[in-house]
């Protein structure tokens, strides 16, 4: 089992930290340097975590737990209108970022209303690119229950936040957090902060189940290893978009155009195999300017190998 944590400190002796991460077989998930300050989100084997933590403290930094690091989560509102944005959707997204996740905030084109709310296929496919989605609905139980149609077909874990507790949602989402609803100001009171923490904890638990499921049939290669490979690819290295490589539980999002770079990326080699053979490389549904990489599991690769041998 790997443990994800964040080093928050200076750049002084950070080379030693990188070396140790490599030595214990861990990976750097995210590295952000601002002047002399540095934050490094890393994934290291659980048995070596203490060693890494000790070094972080020795070189003058702090260690923070970031249970959602290495995930990308969508926070979805019924629309982008001022009734649904920015509160509390942005507060939820901010809380998830504190837990280490990369977040996006989305509004549906026609998600408003009780009887008229709808989601189209394109929107659903975009949401399914993420590790999990949080749907933030309003203050009326009738409306929330009617809007279950928005997320019942979404094939990633869904967490619903709402005002009152709706009924009959067990089949459609992994968790329901009531007590949020529509708000016109920031969630700043202690009760509201506690509610945000409850949401983030629920996401952590839901993704924990997903992580365990992945461990039962492990990926052929850890997303962090593909990230390290892609970081040496010049167009990615030169990419000015924020977080050009975003890790998912079962793959990555690379923010370079699919048409120009998919072929080169597919021809990269990992553990003696073409990346295109061990991953599904597709354009993002948001636009052609991002590539989605889904890593196949060991079982899938073995099955494909066996089928190839038989042929």
């Amino acid at each position: 089992m790997f443990k994800v944590m964040m080093y928050d400190g200076g750049v002084y002796r950070s080379d030693e930290l990188y070396e140790l991460i490599e030595d214990v077989g861990g990976v750097v998930l995210q590295k952000t340097r601002s002047s002399q300050m540095l934050t490094v989100t890393m994934s290291v084997p659980e048995e070596d975590a203490q060693l890494v933590e000790a070094l972080c403290l020795e070189i003058g930094g702090e260690v923070r737990q970031v249970p959602l690091a290495g995930t990308e989560i969508a926070v979805v509102g019924p629309t982008l209108g001022r009734h649904h944005m920015p509160h509390p959707i942005c507060d939820i997204a901010e809380q998830l970022r504190k837990y280490g996740a990369i977040t996006v905030v989305m509004g549906l084109a026609r998600g408003r209303g009780k009887d008229t709310a709808q989601i189209n296929l394109e929107e659903r496919l975009i949401i399914e690119e993420y590790d999990a989605a949080i749907f933030s609905l309003g203050n009326f139980k009738t409306c929330i229950e009617a809007k279950a149609d928005l997320f019942k077909d979404v094939r990633i874990p869904v967490i619903l936040t709402s005002g009152p507790m709706p009924e009959g949602m067990e089949e459609h989402c992994e968790a329901v957090i009531p007590g949020v609803g529509r708000k016109v100001s920031r969630m700043r009171s202690p009760e509201e902060r506690a509610k945000l923490a409850e949401i983030a904890d629920a996401v952590e638990e839901v993704l924990g189940h997903r992580r365990k499921a992945i461990e039962e049939d492990p990926l052929f290669v850890h997303p962090g290893e593909i990230k390290a490979l892609l970081e040496d690819y010049e167009p990615v290295d030169m990419c000015l978009r924020p977080a050009p490589i975003v890790m998912h539980l079962d793959g990555l999002r690379v923010k370079v155009p699919y048409a120009e770079h998919a072929g080169v990326i597919a021809d990269m080699t990992v553990y003696g195999r073409r990346l295109g053979d061990v991953c599904r490389i597709t354009p993002s549904k948001i636009s052609d300017s991002s590539i989605l990489i889904r890593i196949k599991t060991v079982a899938e690769i073995e099955y494909e190998d066996a089928r190839g041998d038989a042929a």
Binding site: P78, R82, H83, G113, T116, F140, C143, R182, V184, S185
Partner: protein, 186 residues
């Protein structure tokens, strides 16, 4: 502000009580409202929001919200309602130019070469603006999905009836009843 609110759902009732007050406070309309009545029925859905102003939404002049005196050929303004300070400054700049207007403190403004009486009569907010802002605030308070709206304006009362699809005659009738109960004419 006296707020009467009824709803078919308990959570929505409490949530909309604070939401309505927060929206009115945000846009600075809370002190101008004498009474508000909010009726929430998400089952239909039918939402009726009605407000009664403390006074008729007439034009507001600088004399209404500030004390003005003339001394040595200059007008001195002491603002008593700070919400209108930006409007006063904007109007004074437009009329007398920026060089003639000096804001000494948050509440005190001097205008070189102006006559007090003339300054007092300057309109800084029309009644129509006030009604329009209130209408915007009511729409902002309402749930976003209910786009079909009918507005009654009469006397000091503004009432908005809204639903999601067809505005049926009985819905309009219910809205009119609330409007009349609040003291609004047609």
């Amino acid at each position: 502000m006296e707020l009467e609110i009824d709803s078919t759902e308990d959570f929505g009732l409490e949530a909309y009580r604070s939401l309505f007050e927060e929206v009115m406070f945000d846009i600075g309309k809370l002190p101008t409202i004498e009474k508000a009545r909010v009726s929430l029925n998400p089952h239909v859905p039918l939402f009726i929001f009605s407000v009664r102003f403390k006074s008729a939404t007439a034009d507001k002049t600088i004399g209404d919200i500030a004390n003005v005196r003339t001394d040595e050929g200059n007008a001195h303004i002491t603002v008593t309602d700070e919400r209108y300070a930006p409007n006063i400054l904007e109007e004074l700049w437009r009329r007398y130019g920026r060089n003639a207007v000096t804001q000494q403190t948050r509440f005190d403004i001097d205008v070189a070469g102006a006559i007090g009486k003339e300054v007092e009569d300057i309109v800084i907010s029309s009644g129509e603006d006030n009604a329009r802002e209130m209408l915007g605030a009511l729409w902002r308070s309402m749930p976003e999905g209910i786009k079909n709206r009918h507005t009654y304006i009469g006397g000091r009362v503004i009432t908005v009836v809204a639903t999601e699809e067809l505005l049926l005659p009985e819905m309009l009738e219910a809205g009119l009843k609330v409007h009349e109960a609040m003291g609004g004419g047609s």
